[in-house]
């Protein structure tokens, strides 16, 4: 009995130990499952390849359904994006009983009139004319006739392709507005004046075809745009080709003559603005010499937006669009325009070299401007602009100055500086239509009822806005949320600038006739903070009242704040109609809450973006609201800036030569070795998808050779190349900002479907982040149908001035509207596994000399303007790609900027996606090693299958001949960073629809073994324990 007792005791101990080991061990195994599988050759997951099990699923069963959804979305963009700017004498909605008379070339051929990046070109595309006719409007046939046949005369011409030179059939007209304004050259405003109508085929009595009392004229004016294009102020020529000295964005005399004839022949006149660049409408706005009854903004259309636009014009839906930019009486009143275009440093030539650059021995390299597409041997570091306006872009300038003119007269807001309409500055003379302005057909009120501010990490501002429909019709309404932060003595001392009005977010809601709905809007609280680059050198929140309001535009918000602060019309306010303000108080100055982000300290990373950093003196005075007069920008291109006078001359010149990083020679790199790991669904499981720091990724890229690691980054090409020891799939990059330009050809029906039906301009003026999200889903779905997963599919650069030729690709002058729209688009795409990369992060705010111009600025501007526009999509949402700007930030190529790309984008924002340059057009400007060290994952060029640095003559790199395996193998940090960059790229591919398969967990042999051991040991522990007790008791009884 004694031996039995001992046996059972020992067995109980053994089994209990096994139970503990197997139970706790289960958790350990889960933690290291991937490594265990690698070691044991097992697989814990099986791949499910059928489409129903894909991680990213299409929402539409058929291609017809997909196309219908895209079309419906585009129509909604027209409905929600059309902005009624002026509506007098009941011109809108259009009276169906009246005849519509269409004037202006763009009424019959709205911009853009050719398909491509901006316009899909589907067979069932609808233009304004057709949309009006389809809506039942009676269009004057006489005017239509001579415009279409005599003036426009649509036909096909063969035009060489910009890139390939191949002749392609292109839609052309005898007379049409200039679609591409060129680069800072003269711009011809082509609008056929009425004096030439008869010459162009109009019957002599064409006016008699119009019954004036029962006719409404619709006059549409367009302005072109395009990549590499920049409007030059004062460069306009007229229809006859004569220079007029007028602003090309202002209405020309020919256009005003068309207005006049429209007014002469029709009882009412409505002007449609068909442009992505703000036009100057002073002449036709209220009080103008050619004032019209109505003005509506229709942005840049696409295939189906005209249907939605006409739904607004005819009153089928309520008008809910709002202006994403401020419309002014004279563009010269915009402080950013003072420093636009740029010019040379006084001694820019000293940057050039004649055979002395060790990277390019024997070569003469100039420092002159290059074209947008490169082509000459130049560092292109001679040109600069100073963005001296700071954060005061768009309404933030105009509304803050207005606010100070009432609230803080000691700030000299009434100064003549910046005034274009009189001797003193007057908001109501300078501004025609404010940011956020848009008239609703149905009367309604938006009232802020409650605001909660959560300052915890990832906390939000949550606002409840009550919308009261005061009309007798059900309707759809827009609400906008604004904030004003305290502007304190601390701010004035440390030059922390504060806009008096800040847009935060917006939303729309359906409300029954006479009814009320409460809308809840949220936006991250971090956007309440301001960047203090001088003292705290991080984000700060001033103590005091933060004022929130819901308002139909930035100016209404400014007035709400003034009224809340006790001001009235007697003090200089321009209205006594104001809305509710809710104050949230912060008791003490806070420089810690947002001083860390994503676990990283937030501090200055762009001190050298300030021109004063280089000159060592206060060369630049940045605009500060504490003295509008003394700090109003001057044109710094007229100030002689001499590089040679800088105390940091050598450093400055090196940066302008692109030598942000120099290849090291004393740090041997490790050659990649094949560990047998591959990029495939079996290896990439949930743990790897969730964590870019999972050891799998480091191990995977450690296999890449030095040649391929550096080569794959600096020759990223237009598609990712297959890496030798990785076997990653090839991922093709796609354009464009209106959606995938690639078409879907249905083999069954022979039909072609194009999904790039979106309009950036109209999604912007929709002010509806939810609509942007819906577009993101559509864009994502279309990628799944097209089996294309990588897209440069939106533009987010800040519209700093109206003159940028690519404003039509961007969203707004306001970073937060851009931020919220981008959040929607990129999140929608991410949920479908599509890598939608916005263009062009880092102040690509003018196309003129984009491939080299230095943009100088303060770090507050750096962080609070252009970058903030990208933050919503890349940090708050799950954006997976981004394209970096062409230009320099300070003297540093944006694609070399470690502060922007590594410190802010990767560290502070926690962004794990791919980072691409714009097209690498100049090897002297784009420096390979500097791009690698900045974190670029792919340098864009046209080449494919060239991910090596040994393809040039003599085994050196074919572009940067000083780079070879031999030259980089002794720079371990460079090679390590190249592999790190590829790690992010491969990680992003894995998280996208590129790897669109599901996996299912299966029990491995070791799972089964542990499970059996746990169960058996549990049973035996109990049995042996009981047996031990029983045998011990029996033994004692027997002994007794």
């Amino acid at each position: 009995m004694g031996k039995l007792s001992g046996f059972f005791r020992g067995m109980a101990a053994l089994m209990a130990c096994l139970l503990v080991l197997s139970t706790v061990g289960t958790g350990v195994v889960e933690s290291y499952r991937s490594a265990l599988d690698n070691v044991l050759g097992t697989s814990s997951y099986e791949t499910i390849t059928d489409e129903s099990a894909a991680r990213f699923k299409k929402d539409y069963a058929t291609i017809e359904d997909m196309m219908a959804a895209a079309k419906a979305l585009a129509i909604r963009e027209g409905e929600e994006g059309t902005v009624v700017m002026k509506n007098d004498n009941g011109v809108l909605p259009l009276n169906a009983d009246k005849q519509v008379v269409l004037f202006g070339l763009a009424s019959y051929a709205p911009y853009p009139y050719t398909s491509g990046d901006l316009r899909a070109g589907n067979a069932d595309a609808v233009d304004l004319l057709q949309a009006l006719e389809d809506a039942g409007m009676k269009v004057n046939e006489t005017v239509k006739g001579f415009y279409m046949t005599g003036i426009l005369n649509k036909h096909i011409e063969q035009v060489p392709n910009m890139w390939t030179g191949e002749l392609v059939d292109t839609v052309a007209y005898d007379n049409i507005y200039v679609a591409a304004p060129g680069d800072m050259t003269s711009y011809q405003v082509v609008e056929v004046p009425p004096t030439m109508f008869e010459e162009k085929g109009a019957p002599a009595d064409w006016k008699s075809s119009i019954d004036k009392e029962n006719a409404v004229a619709i006059v549409t004016f367009a302005r072109g745009a395009g990549e590499g294009n920049t409007y030059a102020p004062g460069s306009a020529t007229n229809y006859a080709g004569e220079a007029t000295g007028k602003d090309p964005l202002a209405l020309s005399d020919d256009e005003l003559a068309v207005i006049d004839v429209a007014k002469e022949t029709c009882g009412q006149v409505l002007v449609l603005i068909n442009s992505g660049n703000n036009m100057v409408l002073k002449e036709i706005a209220k009080g103008g010499a050619h004032e019209v009854d109505g003005i509506a903004y229709i942005g840049v259309i696409n295939d189906y937006q005209p249907i939605g636009i006409v739904n607004v014009l005819t009153g089928k839906v309520n008008a809910t669009g709002a202006l994403p930019d401020t419309y002014v009486a004279d563009n010269a009143s915009i402080p950013a325009v003072v420093n636009f275009g740029g010019d040379y440093y006084a001694d820019y030539e000293i940057v050039g070299t004649e055979g002395t650059d060790s990277r390019y021995p024997g070569e003469t390299i100039a420092n002159t401007k290059a074209s947008s597409f490169g082509g000459s041997s130049t560092y292109n570091g001679g040109h600069y602009i100073v963005e001296a306006e700071g954060i005061y872009v768009g309404y933030k300038y105009f509304e803050t100055r207005y606010f100070d003119s009432v609230m803080n007269p000691q700030f000299n807001a009434a100064s003549a500086k910046g005034a274009t309409q009189g001797d003193t500055w007057d908001y109501n003379k300078e501004v025609l239509y404010s940011f956020g302005h848009g008239l609703s057909y149905l009367e309604y009120e938006q009232t802020l009822k409650n605001v909660q501010v959560d300052l915890s990490e990832n906390g939000n501002v949550t606002a409840e806005i009550e919308i009261r429909n005061l009309s007798d019709k059900d309707g759809y309404f827009l609400a906008q949320l604004y904030v004003q932060q305290p502007y304190t003595e601390y701010d004035r001392t440390n030059l922390v600038e504060k806009s008096a009005v800040n847009f935060l977010t917006s939303g729309k809601a359906q409300v029954k006739a006479g009814g009320t709905e409460t809308m809840k809007l949220t936006v991250p609280s971090k956007y309440l903070a301001s960047y203090d680059y001088k003292n705290a050198k991080t984000w700060i929140l001033d103590e005091g009242d933060y004022l929130f309001t819901a308002a139909p535009g930035s100016h209404a918000a400014a007035n709400n704040f003034l009224a809340h602060l006790g001001k009235t019309v007697a003090d200089g306010m321009d209205t006594d109609k104001t809305g509710a303000v809710v104050a949230w108080n912060l008791a003490a100055f806070d420089k810690t809450t947002f001083a860390t982000a994503n676990g990283h300290e937030v501090t200055n990373v762009a001190d050298d973006a300030d021109l004063n950093y280089w000159t060592g003196t206060n060369t630049v005075t940045y605009l500060s609201r504490q003295d509008w007069d003394a700090t109003y920008p001057i044109d710094y291109s007229k100030v002689a800036i001499k590089l040679a006078d800088s105390p940091k001359k050598d450093e400055w010149i090196a940066e302008l030569r692109g030598q942000t990083y120099t290849i090291q020679t004393n740090d041997p790199a490790n050659e990649g070795t094949d560990r047998g790991l591959r990029f495939n669904a079996a290896s990439i499981q949930d743990e790897q998808l969730a964590n870019v720091n999972d050891e799998y990724w480091d191990n995977l890229v450690s296999q890449i050779t030095i040649d391929e690691a550096v080569g794959a980054v600096i020759h990223g090409g237009s598609s990712s190349d297959v890496l030798t020891h990785v076997d990653n799939p090839k991922v093709i990059q796609n354009e464009g900002v209106s959606g995938f330009t690639a078409a879907y050809n249905d083999e069954k029906t022979g039909k072609t479907y194009r999904f790039n039906v979106h309009s950036q301009t109209l999604i912007a003026s929709s002010f509806n982040p939810d609509l942007a999200y819906e577009w993101g889903l559509i864009e994502g779905n279309s990628g799944l149908w097209l089996q294309r997963y990588d897209l440069w599919g939106t533009g987010l650069t800040q519209r700093r001035t109206p003159y940028n030729g690519r404003n039509y690709e961007y969203i707004s002058e306001d970073p937060m509207l851009t931020n919220r729209i981008a959040y929607g688009i990129l999140q929608g795409c991410a949920e479908k596994g599509i890598m939608n990369g916005p263009k062009h992060m880092g102040f690509n705010d003018q196309e003129h000399n984009r491939g080299g111009v230095s943009a100088y600025m303060t770090e507050q501007k750096f962080r609070e303007t252009d970058l903030r526009g990208f933050q919503g999509g890349l940090s708050d949402a799950d954006g997976m790609a981004v394209m970096i700007a062409f230009n320099r930030i300070g003297a540093t190529n944006a694609a070399h900027h470690v502060g922007m790309l590594q410190k802010i984008l990767r560290d502070e924002w926690g962004y794990t996606g791919l980072i691409s340059t714009d097209m690498m057009n100049n090897k002297y400007y784009f420096n390979a090693e500097s791009m690698v060290m900045a974190g670029i994952t792919q340098v864009a060029d046209f080449a494919q299958n060239d991910n090596h640095i040994n393809e040039g003559e003599g085994g050196v790199d074919k572009t940067w001949a000083y780079i070879s395996v031999n030259s980089v193998k002794n720079d371990g940090a460079l090679v390590k960073q190249a592999r790190e960059n590829l790690k992010y790229q491969l990680y992003t591919f894995a998280n996208s629809a590129v790897l669109n398969v599901s996996t299912r967990k299966v029990a491995t042999w070791y799972d089964n073994a542990i499970s059996i051991i746990r169960t058996v040991s549990l049973i035996l522990t109990i049995c042996c324990g009981l047996a031990f007790i029983a045998t011990t008791v029996l033994k004692k009884k027997k002994e007794a």
Partner: protein, 158 residues
């Protein structure tokens, strides 16, 4: 009293010594420079001390001359202590392993790119110390289990 101790009791004493030894190695490891410095495992010291006390207590109880129901209770208590002691060592060991796998992987299997930075003398010594503490603890566990099969007092001649 020593004369009454069986082979099993001596094995148990060895287990107790090994437990204490493993605890010392572990303590030195987390107190020395290197990767594992300061990286204590929750409750491990407590569990190991309790395990050693239980086993030592079991040996002590069995050496007492008890009769009747007291002897029965003592036998049961001693036996349960012999069972509980290795269970606590097993719990300590598996938690120690779980907490050290990642660090050991970092020290011994990092990418070639960083291995020079990682394999400093201090980190290597720390890794060796961690392995040593696990080995000694593992041996203590085996010996404690063996001891559980053994009686702790010699049978008295009848």
């Amino acid at each position: 009293m020593l004369k009454k101790m069986s082979v099993g009791a001596w094995i148990a004493c060895c287990a107790v010594i090994l437990m204490i030894a493993s605890l010392i190695v572990y303590s030195v490891n987390i107190g020395s420079d290197g990767y594992f410095k300061g990286r204590a495992v929750n409750n491990l010291t407590l569990w190991m001390i309790v395990a050693a006390v239980l086993l030592a207590g079991a040996v002590a109880i069995k050496q007492m001359n008890l009769k009747g129901s007291a002897a029965t209770c003592a036998d049961l208590a001693s036996g349960l202590m012999q069972i509980g002691s290795p269970v606590l060592v097993a719990l300590s060991l598996i938690n120690l392993i779980a907490s050290r796998v990642e660090g050991l992987g970092f020290i011994y299997f990092s990418n070639a790119d960083v291995i020079k930075e990682v394999q400093t003398p201090a980190n290597m010594a720390s890794g060796t110390g961690a392995i040593a503490s696990m080995v000694v603890m593992g041996v203590a566990l085996v010996v404690a289990i063996v001891a559980a099969f053994c009686g702790l007092r010699k049978k008295e001649a009848k």
